[in-house]
């Protein structure tokens, strides 16, 4: 029972991380119908920048804030420079561009920082919390992960649901041409959406790095898990990304715990297949049209 409890806690912690990256994928997919395969790599790159800042004596929290800002700028620039010129062309083109960007970023990171794994500091202790005489598989850093991702999610939800900027962003994402006819400057809002996704990606990179082998490829598997979570959530819903990421995290934790960590990627694949067969449109798909 205590094993199950600890696997559950581990799954929640990892699931929140997958939720954050799933949110980044969702923000971009619902705005431009593109899966950004470079999202994880962008988070990796900004985390390397954070690593350099820390090495130069910048405090952790200053580096944290700076890297989120850099993630925003990188996401926005990716949209303006690489994705915008492909508008109106084959839907495959931007997908190929994001895969190309993934390869380029990992190559550049390897060339600059080397391919060997290195350490990255955590904001808080990674030792499990103790309750009475027992220690659980949930640390202060896991609490930080939980809070950081929830704050990001709530901020995004407030932006979308309670502000006119969010209304314009949703309208631009769902119906660009109609929004333009209503006076909405769609282009700048799409750029903003990619920027927000960049923040989520950078946050993911910072949260994953202390718990894994931090190197040019450490976000690849995280991207696969986040993609699984995003698909389970319906690919267009931020709340779906949160739930999908958590479900994925829990499943992978149970598979890794009970069956062996080597089976975790296969667990994600099986989960994805089951989810697609049971509910192809995802858990949080759009409402069905009323037929009259």
């Amino acid at each position: 029972m205590s094993l199950f409890f600890n696997y559950t806690l581990n799954g929640i912690s990892n699931g929140m991380i997958y939720s954050a990256l799933a949110l980044a994928l969702v923000l971009i997919f619902r705005a431009t119908k593109i899966i950004n395969f470079a999202q994880g790599a962008a988070g990796m790159m900004t985390t390397f920048i954070a690593s350099s800042l820390l090495a130069h004596g910048v405090s952790y929290w200053w580096a944290f804030v700076l890297v989120l800002a850099i993630g925003f700028a990188f996401g926005a620039m990716t949209e303006r420079i690489l994705i915008r010129p492909l508008q109106g062309k084959s839907e495959l083109n931007p997908v190929i561009v994001t895969i190309g960007l993934l390869v380029v970023l990992e190559g550049v990171a390897g060339a600059i920082y080397g391919n060997a794994s290195r350490g990255f500091p955590a904001a808080y202790s990674q030792s499990g919390l103790t309750f009475g005489h027992s220690r659980i598989a949930f640390s202060h850093f896991d609490v930080f992960i939980l809070v950081a991702v929830l704050v990001l999610m709530i901020a995004i939800l407030i932006l979308f649901r309670a502000t006119t900027l969010g209304l314009r962003m949703r309208a631009s994402a769902f119906a660009g041409e109609i929004s333009r006819l209503l006076g909405v400057r769609v282009g700048i809002l799409l750029t903003l959406g990619w920027g927000l996704a960049g923040i989520a990606g950078s946050l993911t990179g910072l949260l994953v790095a202390p718990t894994s082998s931090f190197g040019p490829y450490y976000m690849d598997l995280v991207l696969v898990y986040a993609f699984t979570g995003a698909v389970i959530g319906g690919l267009e819903s931020p709340v779906g990304a949160l739930i999908g990421g958590l479900v994925t995290g829990l499943c992978i934790s149970y598979v890794g715990g009970y069956l062996g960590s080597g089976l975790e990627p296969m667990g994600a694949l099986v989960l994805l297949m089951v989810a697609l067969m049971a509910r192809p449109e995802g858990l949080f798909s759009r409402p069905a049209a009323r037929r009259v």
């Binding site: 209503l182 006076g183 769609v186």
Partner: protein, 235 residues
């Protein structure tokens, strides 16, 4: 006043509009009629900036619209209701209306304007917090018309507003359109396949055939010309 001069549009080798010229007066409805493929939708999309023409000019109240961005043209008071009920299905009815107020109304005026439109279309009142995807065809048309009117446009471009609607709903919409245009400074350009219905509410009519203006005259004259009606308008 809307002045269109010598407007030509091509899609590759296909010429959709050929030297189209006409004027539409404020306070009146100008019907643009013609068969499928006559160029009616292209004409509206060119006026609102969605399509770039090869040649010609589009002046509204003395200002050239061509070459400006779609959203800039919209912010000049041009409301384009596209063919196929251009609602945003993922937003609620109220959000669809609110979106059209953001650039033209002050924050405190927005809710009042939304209530006025919902009073104009009471059927939408009960659906205000529901997704627009759940609306029927007639309700969707009321929503897009309401959304166009809420921005208090000076030029209203309507593309096939009666498409797929029951005759009673069409008559209600046309009546509302006539009431809204008459005696105001709003210029209305109404693209319709339902020529009989469009001519009944319009003061002016432009008949297009294969991208060319066949006739530009008063709606009454077009309605009275049996040969023209039979040949180009199908009634």
């Amino acid at each position: 006043m809307l002045e269109i001069k010598d407007l030509s549009v091509s899609y590759g080798a296909v010429r959709a509009l050929r030297s189209v010229s006409f004027e539409a007066q404020p306070g009146s409805i100008t019907a643009v009629l013609g068969a499928n493929g006559a160029g009616k939708t292209t004409l509206l999309r060119t006026i609102s900036g969605l399509v770039r023409p090869r040649t010609g000019s589009v002046h509204f109240n003395g200002e050239e619209l061509l070459g400006r961005r779609v959203e800039t043209i919209a912010r000049q008071g041009v409301a384009h209701v596209p063919e196929g009920r251009g609602i945003i299905e993922e937003l609620t009815v109220e959000e669809n209306l609110r979106l059209a107020t953001l650039w033209c109304l002050k924050r405190r005026e927005r809710q009042t304007a939304i209530e006025e439109i919902l009073e104009l279309f009471p059927r939408l009142m009960g659906f205000r917090h529901r997704h627009a995807s759940t609306l029927s065809g007639g309700e969707r048309q009321m929503l897009v018309l309401g959304r166009a009117l809420i921005s208090r446009p000076r030029l209203l471009l309507l593309d096939e507003p009666s498409l797929g609607l029951a005759p009673l709903v069409t008559a209600q919409l046309m009546g509302l359109l006539r009431d809204h245009a008459t005696g105001t400074d709003v210029t209305v350009v109404l693209v319709e396949q339902n020529a009989r219905s469009a001519l009944s509410v319009s003061q002016h009519a432009v008949v297009l055939n294969l991208g060319e203006v066949v006739v530009s005259s008063s709606a009454a004259e077009v309605a009275a010309d049996e040969g023209l009606r039979h040949h180009y308008l199908g009634f």
